[in-house]
């Protein structure tokens, strides 16, 4: 069983991971913690500083992935976990990663940054659900589902 967990640097991702550690998993489960770094416009404009900024973002991404890996390994001892950082458009890279690794399942949060966004489902999760070659799980942590209910976001 190969499972990709797509994360980003929002606090939402941490909740998603926490939710996953409470689950039951097959003993042979393999996780790939995937973070996609999307190129920022200002990086292209200022090449020199941009280069540094990019590598610091990469470092931050590596650190975050390592953290997630540790918490997964700690709570699911039989699992093998590894990290992957990709650069590019999040939607494309996540879908490609699933194909390249022949993942059985892709897990991602309902949306990254906004709780009560206009569309309710992030553009990334929407695209991935539509195009992914495998089963996709959109995780909505309990705390967030609660918040959605209270703010009336779950209704159109």
């Amino acid at each position: 069983m190969k499972v990709i967990i797509a994360i980003d640097d929002s606090p939402y991702s941490a909740q998603v991971v926490q939710e996953l550690t409470k689950r039951q998993w097959l003993p042979d489960v393999q996780f790939k913690v995937l973070q996609v770094i999307e190129p920022a416009i200002w990086e292209a404009l200022k090449t020199k500083d941009g280069g540094e900024a990019r590598s610091s973002r990469e470092l931050a991404a590596q650190r975050l992935c390592a953290q997630v890996r540790q918490s997964l390994e700690a709570s699911i001892p039989t699992a093998t976990v590894h990290c992957e950082i990709r650069k590019g458009d999040a939607r494309v890279e996540i879908i490609d990663a699933a194909g390249d690794w022949s993942a059985d399942k892709l897990i991602l949060g309902a949306h990254g940054k906004e709780l009560c966004s206009h569309s309710l489902l992030g553009s990334v999760s929407r695209a991935v659900t539509a195009h992914a070659p495998c089963t996709v799980e959109i995780v909505r942590p309990q705390a967030l589902a609660q918040a959605m209910r209270e703010t009336g976001c779950s209704r159109k």
């Binding site: 699933a98 070659p133 959109i138």
Partner: protein, 169 residues
């Protein structure tokens, strides 16, 4: 834990059932298999693709739906030997009714199917699965058919994937 399985047809129903039976669940997990019978539009009747819903047609539809729900439920029941597998047939708009059922039953997870359509068809892709993943009060798993997805079935590419760009940091 409460898992709501919204089935659309037999094909996806069985894919969803096999997803459920191949996944470990906490003890005492409850499952509910739901099918929504959608109202027939005038357009469909006019195009001749479907009969107007006389009472007997409706009854028949309901019976068929219940049988399909039972088939999926049976697989899960057989596998887990659990009495906590419920069945339900609802009438209405699928997107709304599935979310509603999840809310009322306080489901922790919804499992739905999605046609892996490509190209132009993608524009109208699984509007139900999209709407449900957006409005659901809980996590949603969208199960694809093994045939439409290359992910789970293609074995050969598996072993070499370890030494690609992935790394342990």
């Amino acid at each position: 834990m409460r898992v709501l399985i919204a089935v659309e047809d037999d094909l996806f129903g069985l894919a969803q059932a096999s997803y459920v039976t191949n996944t470990p669940w906490p003890p005492l997990t409850e499952f509910k298999v739901v099918h929504v019978i959608e109202p027939v539009s005038l357009k469909q009747i006019a195009s001749g693709s479907i009969l107007p819903l006389f009472d007997f047609v409706e009854e028949e539809l309901h019976r068929e739906a219940a049988a399909m729900v039972r088939r999926v439920a049976l697989r899960i029941r057989d596998k887990f030997k659990s009495p906590y597998v419920f069945e339900e047939v609802v009438k209405g708009r699928a997107k709304e009714k599935i979310v509603e059922a999840a809310e009322q039953w306080s489901a922790d997870l919804i499992i739905i199917g999605s046609h892996g359509r490509r190209g132009v068809d993608l524009l109208m892709l699984g509007s139900v699965s999209n709407a449900v993943s957006a409005h659901a009060p809980c996590s949603v798993i969208v199960v694809k058919l093994p045939a439409t997805g290359s992910g789970s079935t293609s074995e050969p590419a598996v072993t070499q994937s370890r030494n690609e760009a992935s790394f342990r940091s």
